[in-house]
């Protein structure tokens, strides 16, 4: 509850700052200070099991350790995002305070969609996440690609929200318990009526759209590529993780008992996402677009949590969200500093900026899944969760082969950084790299390695 109210409040504060202050840098500092306060408040709520605000939400939102731990991860990733890329947000356009305000509203939506207990709350949470993102995608007003991306995102998003509403209507209309709470929808294994089945599939489709699972992913590359890189960084990480968390909670609490009925669909979607995401990423020349497709490929792994729905899967999803978000935020932060977004733009980075090169190496190794990094631990948890299910072993072997394919495109960047000579003598970085930036990158890399060796640091919060 703390997070929901405080983020909304902070968003409004930032809007006021935007209206009344001329300073360009004040919003960033307020944002960073605000995120730290909200993170602490969230942790206090996790530890003490009660919030600062007494609100009777009539059980429409549940605040248990699992949900609050995930919100904590999202807030931590956003904090690191602000510290690394906050200055890049200031360069997008002139409405700096508004950008930060919108980001906080997105976080509010993340918190709601992480704690929902009725489908209405799920819908509200997803919408609150999406609408500010439509605006942020198009915030580079003079760039045609950004406008196109925003329109595409808005139209496809509105369409999928319509599908979600239809699914919700069918579920509520079709269940015979006359309850709104998803945990009480009362499905027995033999009790799936056609209305429920249609509603379930529609919800599956709309949630797959939100997390860009194949074959509902077609908006992702264009939107991620058109949006300003700094906002792509946020969309590809925190928002996607939030989408997956909502996906998991919906199908675990709501439709968990019906799992044998819909598991086949998830298997097909997972397989398609893994294969398509990895294969198309191989052929990309632009690093930004390649990271967009790689986010689809990583989404394939995260779908294993929905496939398995056991304890390991839940721990794994939180770990995967953290690992993937940290690594991607890091690599995007480095990418933002580049003038040239193609792979060749990274040539010779090791000689020019060794700190960026080594931390970039850690991020890319984590995305590939090399041991010692959090990326490996998270893939390991996912594979173990899937192995515990016992069936569909071919899916696990496919996932692992796709992870090997992913090594190809991640290592192309590593090779450009370390083993290729820079083509021009002049720097191809947009600006001077400050020591604070390098320090933040090192901290992020250290966090990734720490989680890689001791994943319990994160997963133990689930059972607090």
């Amino acid at each position: 509850m703390n997070t929901i109210l405080l983020t909304a409040f902070l968003g409004i504060v930032l809007m006021m700052i935007g209206a009344f202050s001329k300073s360009k840098t004040l919003p960033r500092f307020v944002a960073i200070g605000g995120i730290i306060v909200i993170l602490i408040a969230n942790m206090v709520e996790l530890l003490s099991q009660e919030s600062f605000f007494t609100f009777n939400v009539k059980n429409m939102l549940t605040f248990n350790s699992f949900n609050l731990a995930f919100i904590g991860v999202a807030l931590l990733c956003t904090l690191i995002y602000f510290l690394l890329s906050g200055s890049a947000i200031e360069k997008v356009g002139s409405y700096v305070a508004e950008y930060f305000a919108l980001l906080f509203f997105v976080l509010c939506g993340v918190a709601i969609s992480a704690t929902f207990n009725t489908l209405l709350m799920l819908f509200i949470g997803i919408e609150i996440i999406s609408i500010p993102l439509y605006i942020l995608t198009g915030s580079d007003k003079r760039n045609l690609k950004s406008n196109e991306a925003a329109l595409k995102y808005f139209l496809m998003g509105a369409f999928s929200t319509g599908i979600m509403l239809m699914g919700i209507a069918f579920i509520y209309g079709g269940n015979d318990q006359a309850t709104f709470y998803i945990s009480q929808l009362g499905f027995g294994v033999g009790k799936m009526s056609p209305l429920i089945a249609i509603g379930l599939v529609l919800l599956l489709i709309s949630m797959s759209f939100k997390v860009s699972a194949v074959p509902f992913h077609f908006w992702t590359p264009d939107v991620y590529d058109g949006a300003p890189t700094v906002f792509t960084s946020f969309m590809a990480t925190t928002v996607k993780a939030a989408g997956f968390f909502a996906f998991l909670r919906l199908f675990d609490n709501g439709f968990g008992v019906l799992q044998p009925q819909w598991q086949k669909l998830i298997v097909l979607i997972t397989a398609a996402t893994l294969v398509l995401g990895n294969l198309t990423a191989v052929f990309q020349q632009s690093v930004k677009r390649m990271l967009a497709y790689s986010s689809i490929a990583q989404a394939g792994f995260m779908l294993f949590a929905v496939f398995a729905l056991n304890e390991k899967a839940k721990e794994g999803l939180i770990l995967y969200a953290a690992a993937y978000s940290l690594a991607t935020i890091g690599i995007f932060a480095i990418l933002i500093k580049m003038k040239d977004y193609t792979i060749d733009g990274f040539n010779g980075l090791a000689k020019k900026q060794p700190v960026l090169a080594v931390t970039g190496l850690v991020f890319l190794l984590s995305l590939t899944g090399v041991p010692l990094t959090a990326g490996f631990q998270s893939k390991f948890y996912m594979l173990m969760a899937a192995a515990e299910v016992g069936s569909y072993t071919w899916l696990i072997i496919l996932a692992v082969l796709c992870a090997a394919i992913s090594a190809y495109y991640y290592f192309k960047i590593i090779q450009a950084i370390f083993f290729k000579e820079a083509s021009s003598a002049e720097g191809d970085l947009t600006e001077v790299i400050t020591t604070a930036f390098k320090l933040m990158l090192i901290i992020t890399a250290v966090l990734i390695i720490l989680l890689g060796v001791m994943p319990g640091l994160l997963t133990d919060w689930l059972y607090y």
């Binding site: 190794l365 041991p371 390991f380 192995a387 696990i396 072997i397 082969l401 090594a407 994943p455 997963t459």
Partner: protein, 495 residues
């Protein structure tokens, strides 16, 4: 000795000391001092390894030879390092190889030498970790981590096509390891740990697991494909000749001397004990593939012009024989594999040293462009001929004992396979003697007139290799005693 009295054990020392020494290397400013540091560190590691041989009585000194900890947040990851007979043999090989490599390549100029030597020591640490890991998670960790320094070494300091060759090597091996990871997870889910509840990654739990035959079959292949890619066995060998050729020769020594033994070792430690029925079921296929690989590689080696590629293909043939020896599951075969792992490591490093010396002096590696080296560098030639004859497994050399035992085992398995494998020995003699004749004897030419005799330290190091060859060829008993217990434990699984 109680575990509480001991504050550090041998396997830990063997793994952490090269790691720390390697990290220290990166801090050096002066490229010339780093060579002395690296030599000192690797000799210290060798002393540690010798000391571990002294304390090898497991009954009395178990506390010195086994380390197991569980860190607080590792979530059923345990971390167990231990030394048994086979582990001691291979850690001794690793500890022996690196000082030899460093002395032999002392005069080779490397750009940013401190990074090069630091990465070499990190590779050594990873290899030590593989050989001492006693639980599946740390085994997997070190298996992958040994790869990363080698990837950087080859990609940065290698030949012209180094980036593609190393990349192919990396992705191939990585895919195999990921398949093995699935196997590890599945076996883990079927283990019962020592308290009777829950699962465990430890080797004893894995070895005691009960799997039904269908499960054993596909799990066996998941593990074996990873090892087959590492060894490499036909048809998974396509990465090897390019990777060996393009890597800097010091790295090739590590690759062929020690890293391939990782694959053989893993079969003995992690494949045969866990999947005995599947081993019995598939042994014919695997021995068949190994023998085909031996013949195939030997025939291709006949046609090679580049010295490095010649030795690379000859290495595939030798490894094929060792792999076949493992799957004969006879006592003499297994004992032969253990011995041959050490001997082949030493011999092939000797060969690579000679190639490195020739290349450093002339700049070429092609047999067609060399000739008459013996006139200019007679001592090099004498030492090389001994090492090359060891490669052919002439009696009195160490490889003879190993190969004799391996053929014994193979013959007991199936005499036709043994006969086919025997042909590859003849082919080995053909291409090796052909290479010696063309490169060292015959007419001098414009390139080889510039060759001088090798330096003193290079003579000494090659003599050390030659002395080892003869010593082990005449008196291999200590080596055999070292690994006797491991072989007997393995044989118990198959009786």
């Amino acid at each position: 000795m109680n575990p509480q009295d001991v504050w550090i054990t041998f396997p830990e020392l063997l793994v952490w000391f090269p790691l720390l020494a390697g990290l220290v290397c990166f801090l050096f400013k002066d490229n010339s001092k780093v060579k002395s540091w690296v030599l000192l560190a690797s000799i210290l590691t060798l002393c540690i390894s010798f000391a571990s041989l002294y304390f090898s009585d497991d009954a009395k000194y178990l506390a010195l030879n086994k380390a197991s900890y569980t860190l607080k947040y590792m979530n059923n990851g345990s971390f167990i390092l231990g030394l048994d007979g086979m582990g001691r043999l291979l850690t001794l090989l690793t500890a022996f190889a690196f000082p030899i490599i460093f002395v032999a390549t002392y005069n080779t100029p490397y750009k940013s030498a401190k990074n090069f030597y630091g990465l070499m020591l990190l590779a050594q640490s990873g290899l030590m970790g593989v050989f001492t890991a006693m639980d599946a998670m740390s085994f997997y960790f070190f298996w992958e981590l040994a790869l990363i320094p080698v990837y950087f070494l080859s990609s940065q300091w290698g030949g012209e096509r180094r980036i593609q060759a190393t990349f192919k090597f990396f992705v191939y091996t990585f895919a195999g390891s990921l398949l093995m990871l699935i196997g590890i997870i599945y076996v883990y889910l079927h283990t019962i740990n020592i308290n009777g509840n829950g699962h465990s990654f430890a080797l004893y739990a894995f070895a005691g697991v009960r799997l039904n035959p269908t499960e054993q079959n596909w799990l066996f292949w998941l593990f074996f494909i990873a090892f087959a890619i590492k060894m490499p066995i036909f048809p998974f060998h396509t990465w090897q000749p390019d990777a060996y050729e393009q890597a800097p020769t010091a790295t090739t020594m590590v690759l062929s001397g020690i890293m391939v033994k990782m694959g053989l070792f893993a079969c003995l430690r992690w494949l045969l004990p866990i999947f005995p029925q599947a081993t019995i079921k598939f042994d014919t296929i695997i021995i068949g593939l190994s023998v085909i690989g031996m013949l195939y590689a030997s025939i291709i080696a006949l046609k090679q012009d580049d010295l490095k590629r010649l030795v690379a293909y000859s290495s595939i043939a030798h490894i094929g024989l060792m792999c076949a020896g493992i799957f004969t599951k006879t006592e003499v075969g297994l004992q032969g594999v253990m011995l041959q792992m050490f001997c082949h490591g030493i011999n092939i490093i000797g060969l690579w040293i000679v190639i490195e010396l020739i290349e450093r002096q002339t700049g070429v590696r092609k047999i067609s462009q060399l000739g008459g080296v013996a006139h200019k560098a007679p001592i090099l030639t004498i030492l090389l001929v001994v090492i090359a004859l060891a490669n052919i497994a002439l009696p009195l050399t160490n490889a003879f004992i190993g190969e004799f035992m391996l053929f014994n085992g193979l013959f007991a398995f199936n005499k036709w396979y043994a006969a086919a494998a025997g042909i590859s020995i003849i082919l080995a003699a053909v291409y090796t003697l052909n290479m010696i004749q063309k490169v060292f004897y015959g007419e001098e030419n414009s390139i080889t007139t510039a060759i001088k005799e090798i330096a003193l330290h290079e003579k000494i190091i090659l003599s050390v290799v030659v002395v080892l060859i003869f010593m082990m060829g005449v008196y291999p008993q200590p080596m055999i005693n070292l690994t006797k217990a491991t072989v007997e434990a393995l044989m118990l699984k198959f009786n």
